[in-house]
Amino acid sequence: MNLRWKYLIKRTGQMLLTLWIIATILFFIFRLMPGNPLVAYIDPTFTEEQQEILMKQFGLDKSLWMQYIIYIKNLFQGELGQSFFFKDSVINVISKVLPNTIYLMLTALIIAYTAGIVGGIFLAWKRGEMIESVGIVFTLFTRAAPQFWVGMILLAIFSFQFDIFPSGGVSQAGTVYSSELDKLLSFQFYRHLFLPALTLSIYLLGLPLLLMRSNMLDVMDESYVEMAKIRGVSKIRVLVKYAARNAFLPVITAMAVGIGYAMGGNVVIETVFSWPGLGRLLVKAVSTSDYPLAQGAFILIAGVMVFMNFVADILYSLLDPRVNIDSKR
């Protein structure tokens, strides 16, 4: 049993080291950037000493090194500091937008990966036929098209032209949800979620589909698939239980990494669909030089990405018995 724990501990150690390095890099990126961050918040008519108070309030008067020590100390206590712009704790501000990003991201990922896996199986099954090259070209188009361009076109057609879907926001004006669950159950929420999730999943679709197809083609040549056919197992069952079950392992690990990418990635979609998510908050923080907020958002996204890479490794060994180290012998 200890072989497994040793691997886990080593891996977690690596993960923490990576996170620490990222946190340090982020600290210096924001501190060395041009533009005095306080400009947006000190009213020009302030006197000198008023500006002093504010500098102290945000800890900008201390030496860079001292700031770094406080920064790391806070980080460990999960304290990400105070946002200049929203005059509120970074965690508080982020926690208000985080659910929206997670809903959008998860829905899009689920749609993209289910469609991707099914599409991958289909294309592998139709190997060599016309439909297969058409499918591949289409998938490459979905990966090559700029997200916002696709988003705007969908918006123009389904919202401006035919008014089937709303043109922005998370819910209808003035609706009050009693709880997050109530929000998740309301039809209006999904009507608002549909276009952004569709645009994001069109973009995310490419990776799982092509990866799944490639794995399927490898697996289809394996002799245990042929043996299953010889055993008279039905075509569909062979495709799913033998081929897909082995082929989809790498796709699942890719999904874990995909979650990390999607966390920070859908800035553009959030802007087009006025979706109040983490991405847009980050752009707001950057353009208002509110670097504690930008830094906090960044560390959160980076943390999720590193964690997801870690989960991807573990997931793979869980799913594939061959890799399972502590198998019952």
Partner: protein, 337 residues
């Protein structure tokens, strides 16, 4: 009553460079609880024949014509559903690469139960007992059922796969190079067990191999394949003792025989012809020390020489002399490839 009658079976492959005539019209038949050895170099089409029989072929393979009469029903006319009924309940296969012929992400038990559930009407408990008895039969410990394929050694996996083949006590088992990947001792054990099982459950067997000595131990009938055709077939001891076709003679020389320790090993020069556009006449002519002009023009028919012994070669007389010559190294070296 003949269990299996294969008449002029052809299996071709569509490739970018033309049609590959991997199996170009072979015929043989197999009586009940009898065993037939199909012997030939790799690439002679024996594995393709098997795939043709069970009709599980790759996408670009097709069967232009020929008949496969199994219990007087032509398997080639059946649709997929009917064929599926026959697969494994009547004909089962012990695959070549036993190493990864089991689904790695499921336990062996799971794959056993799946086969029985699909075909046999047995309940889960009954099929589990069946699996356990089969494991005991092939000399495997019952607990192994719960393990994953990658936790089995080569020999253990081979036995598990044989057990799987016996699951629905089929009439015919086809084994494709069942023991090539194993060391000699384990090989001998497996073949002995196989022979015992066959007699006990009176199952007929087709053994595909390139190793003539393996066939000698286990098969009643032998058919020698070369470049997609059967060049010689007949009772095992006759074909081994008194080979009629020069290729069979060549094959015999290239295998050590425990009984004749000082026998010189002679290998046949050259390699089998390319089957996209096979040479005219006899396909072995170019490598055959006794070939004459006629051999390069007319393709010899597979004709009955005596009792049940057939050969596709023009030489039917003075075979004794040919056999003696075929044992000298010089006869084979003078063949210019």
């Amino acid at each position: 009553m003949s269990l299996l009658k294969v008449e002029d079976l052809k299996v071709y492959y569509e490739t970018t460079r033309g049609t590959n005539k991997a199996v170009d019209g072979i015929s043989f038949n197999l009586e009940e609880s009898q065993s037939l050895g199909l012997v030939g170099e790799s690439g002679c089409g024996k594995s393709t024949t098997v795939k043709g029989l069970v009709r599980v072929m790759s996408k670009n393979a097709f069967i232009p014509d020929g008949k496969v009469m199994f219990k007087d029903r032509n398997l080639l006319d059946l649709n997929e559903k009917e064929m599926n009924k026959i697969r494994w309940s009547d004909i089962s296969l012990v695959p070549q690469a036993a190493m990864d012929s089991l689904n790695p992400v499921y336990t062996v038990k799971n794959q056993f139960l799946e086969v029985m559930k699909l075909k046999g009407e047995m309940s889960k408990k009954a099929s589990l007992n069946r699996a356990k008895t089969l494991f005991k039969k092939v000399g495997l410990n019952e607990e192994l059922l719960g393990y994953y394929p990658h936790q089995f050694s080569g020999g253990m996996k081979q036995r598990a796969v044989i057990a799987l083949a016996l699951a629905l006590n089929p009439n015919l088992i086809i084994t494709d190079e069942p023991v090539t990947a194993l060391d000699v001792i384990v090989q001998h054990q497996i073949l002995k067990e196989l022979k015992g099982l066959r007699e006990e459950l009176n199952i007929s067997l087709i053994m595909i191999t390139h190793d003539i000595s393996v066939v000698a131990q286990t098969c009643d009938q032998i058919a020698i394949m070369y470049a997609g055709k059967i060049v010689e077939k007949g009772p095992a001891n006759e074909v081994l003792k008194k080979p009629l076709h020069p290729y069979t003679m060549g094959l015999e020389n290239s295998f050590p025989d425990i009984t004749k320790p000082n026998k010189k090993l002679i290998s046949i020069e050259g390699s089998p012809p390319e089957l996209i556009s096979p040479p005219a006449g006899c396909r072995f002519a170019v490598r055959c020390p006794f070939s004459e002009d006629i051999c390069f023009k007319k393709e010899p028919e597979l004709i009955k020489i005596n009792e049940k012994h057939y050969s596709a070669c023009i030489h039917q007389k003075n075979l004794e002399e040919l056999r003696a010559k075929s044992r000298e190294v010089e006869t084979w070296q003078k063949v210019v490839s």
